[in-house]
Symmetry: C2
Subunit: 346 residues, 2 copies
DNA sequence: GGATTATTTGAAAGCGCTTTCAAATATTGT
DNA sequence: ACAATATTTGAAAGCGCTTTCAAATAATCC
C-alpha cells in the first residue's frame, strides 16, 4: 500500500500473497480460486478498500458493462417508466445505463447512437425502428446487441420489443365503430420518422376501411406532442363543418387537451363527442369523464429489453421477442354518438 | 490496417507517417500539431474510419468523460426535465450521462453513488442533501466533483444547485394568509430522508407562525407522492371537524388529486376550499379551476448543474452557485375563504 | 500406489491510449 | 547570419486490468 494512490489489483495480490492473475480470477469468478486463497484475497480487498478500476477492466476485457439508451424524450411521463425499469433490471446484473434524449430528432438520434458506440457500450436500446441504413449498419458492424423499443415487428429485421401500434389503434377505432360512430377526427403525433405514430394512424385507417370509411385530410391533425396541441386540434376539429362525433388521439396528452378543451367549450363528453387516448397514464382514470384509452406496457418494455440484452450479452440463445399485449380500457369518455348533430356548442 | 479488428491510434499514426504521440495530440488538442501533419492525420482518420477507444483513453488519461446522475425517480414528470437538460448540456462538451433511479430510497441512493464512482464517473449529480457521512466522505475522498440538486443551501456544506424549498412554501402560505385563510390542511411527501419535503413543511409552519398560527397533527398528511395520495388526503382533511379552508400541497400531483377529489365530492374550488400546488407542471394551467402553485426551475437546475460540473472539471474557478428563483403563480384555485363554513359537501 | 485426468496457479504479454522528456525543428532578436 | 528562444515531434514508459499458456498441485481411477 505505497503512496496514497488507490490500491491496485497488484497491491491486493501482494497483500494476499498470490499472483495478480489469481486476484483477477477471484474478482470475476470467485469459484475458480480455491477456498483458502479466496479468503485471503477477500481480506486483502477489504483491508485495502480495493475497488477495481473500471477503465482498466474494460480495456483488458473489452467489455464496459455499460448499456446505452436513446429515448425520443426524457421529459414528460412517457418514457421514464421504461427507462427506470430498464436501469433497474440492468443494475441487478452490475450494468450501468448511459442515457440520452434525441428530442424526437432523427439527427440527434443518430448522433447519440454513434456517441454511445464510441463510449463503448456493450449493448444499446433505441426507440422505434425508423433509422438510417448507415446507423443500422454501424450497429451491425460493431456487433453491438441492440433492441428497438415501442414497436412490435421491425420492417428492418432487427429485434424489437414492444406492442403492435397499429393493432392497438384498430381496437380503439373498432370500439368507437361498434358504438355507432361514423364521423371521426384524429389527432396524431408528427408522423415523419415516427413509426409509432404512423402505425397508429394506419390502424385507425385500417379499421375504418373495413367499414368502408376513410379519413379526409381535414379529419387528421398532425401535431407535436402535448396537451396544448390536443386543445388546438380538438377545437379545430369541432369547428369543421362535418364535425366528428368521436376524436381519436394518437397520444394521451392530446386526449387530455381535448377533454379539457371540450370542457371549456361547453361540450359534454361523451354525450356530444367521444374522445379516446393512447397509453393509459395515471391521469386517464382520474379525470372526469375518465378517459377511454389503450394501456401500453411501458415499464414492461424497459424490463424486457434489459433481459433480452442481458441474455444476448451472456451469449445465451434468445428467442425472438414476441409482441407485448395492450389492453383497451373503456371508461367514461366514449359512448354512442348523439342522435343528431348538436347544432352548436351551446 | 491489418486484420479486421478496429483500427488503433497506431494504425493511424503509421498511415499518416507520424508517431502515435502526435496522433494523440491531434485528437486532444488539434492546434498543438502543425497544419501539414494535422491534415495528413485527419485524412488517415477518415480513411481508416478510426474511432478512439474510450476505455483505453480513460485508462491512460484517468478521465472517463462520463458524469453520473442519481435521481429519486425517473418515472413521472418531475425529474425528467432536469435530466434532459443536464444530459444535453453535457453532451455539448462530449460528456455522457450515466443515470440511475434510487426510487426515493436512501440505501439505493447510496448504492448507486458507490456504483457510479466505481464506474469512474468524472463528476456526479445527486438530488437533495440528506445523505450519510460515509457516502459524502467517499465523494470527498475520491475527489469527484458533485452537486446536490433541488436544494438551495446544504447543511452539509457541499455545493448545491436549486431553490429554497422553505421560502417557496412560505410564499404560498403567505398568499393564502393574505387572502384571509386561517384554517389549513397540508399534504406533504414522506419527510424522512427528503429535505425538500421537510423544507416545504417548515416553510408552511414558519409562515403560519408569523401569524401566531400552527399546524396540528391531523392537519398534516404525510403521503407517498402521487395524485391518488392527494385524493385520499384531501378527503380525510375535508372530513375533519375543523375543516380547513385551504389545502397546501407539497407536491403537484397531490394538488391534482385534491382538485379532482373536490370535484367528485361536489366541493367548489376555490369557493369552498382553496388548493395550492408545488412545481407548476403542465397540467396546472390546464385544469379548471387552474392551479395556484409555485413554479420551480427544473430544467434550469439540470442545465446549471451541468455547467457547474463542467467548470469544475476544466479546473476553472467556480463561484458558489446561488439559489435559483421560484415564482408564485396565482391562478384560479385560490380565493378568500368562504364567509362561513359550508355545513356539508352538498 | 502410480499413472491419468482435472483443477489451480503464476509469468508474461498485451488491451489502446496518454504523457513525460529530450531531441529536432522553427521562429525571433540583434 | 548566429545565437537564443519557442514550438513541434517521437521514443518509451506506463495506466490497471485480463487472459493465454504452461507449470504446479489436487483429485480420480485401476
Amino acid at each position: 500500500m505505497r503512496g496514497d494512490r488507490n490500491p491496485t489489483l497488484g497491491d491486493v495480490a501482494r497483500a494476499a500473497g498470490v499472483s495478480p492473475a489469481t486476484v483477477s480470477r477471484f474478482l470475476n469468478r470467485a469459484d475458480s480460486v480455491r477456498a483458502d486463497k479466496r479468503l485471503r484475497i477477500h481480506d486483502a480487498v477489504e483491508r485495502l478498500r480495493y475497488v477495481p478500476h473500471a477503465a482498466a477492466r474494460a480495456l483488458a476485457s473489452r467489455k464496459t458493462r455499460m448499456v446505452g439508451a436513446v429515448f425520443p424524450s426524457l421529459d414528460g411521463d412517457l418514457f421514464g417508466g421504461a427507462l427506470e425499469a430498464f436501469q433497474k433490471e440492468l443494475a441487478r446484473e452490475g450494468y450501468s445505463v448511459v442515457v440520452a434524449s434525441s428530442e424526437y430528432d432523427a439527427d440527434q438520434d443518430a448522433a447519440h447512437i454513434r456517441n454511445l458506440l464510441t463510449c463503448g457500450v456493450d449493448a444499446l436500446l433505441v426507440v422505434g425502428a425508423v433509422r438510417s441504413p448507415q446507423t443500422l449498419n454501424l450497429l451491425v458492424e460493431k456487433d453491438v446487441p441492440f433492441v428497438q423499443l415501442w414497436v412490435a415487428d421491425a420492417l428492418n429485421g432487427h429485434p424489437c420489443i414492444g406492442f403492435d401500434n397499429q393493432a392497438a389503434a384498430e381496437h380503439v377505432t373498432d370500439h368507437l365503430l361498434m358504438l355507432g360512430h361514423r364521423r371521426f377526427g384524429v389527432i396524431s403525433g408528427i408522423l415523419e420518422g415516427n413509426d409509432r405514430a404512423q402505425g397508429r394512424l394506419n390502424g385507425v385507417r385500417a379499421s375504418l376501411a373495413r367499414q368502408g370509411l376513410s379519413l379526409a385530410d381535414d379529419q387528421v391533425h398532425e401535431m407535436p406532442f402535448g396537451a396544448a396541441s390536443g386543445r388546438d386540434a380538438f377545437s379545430l376539429l369541432m369547428a369543421s363543418p362535418e364535425r366528428p362525433t368521436a376524436v381519436i388521439c394518437g397520444s394521451e396528452p392530446f386526449a387530455y387537451g381535448a377533454l379539457l378543451e371540450a370542457q371549456s367549450m361547453g361540450l359534454r363528453v361523451p354525450d356530444d363527442v367521444s374522445v379516446t387516448g393512447f397509453d393509459d397514464m395515471w391521469l386517464a382514470s382520474q379525470l372526469s369523464p375518465s378517459l377511454t384509452t389503450v394501456w401500453t406496457p411501458r415499464r414492461e418494455m424497459g424490463r424486457d429489453a434489459a433481459r433480452y440484452l442481458l441474455a444476448k450479452l451472456t451469449g445465451k440463445a434468445v428467442a425472438k421477442p414476441r409482441p407485448l399485449e395492450t389492453r383497451l380500457v373503456v371508461r367514461q369518455s366514449t359512448a354512442p354518438p348523439p342522435r343528431q348533430t348538436p347544432s352548436s356548442c351551446a
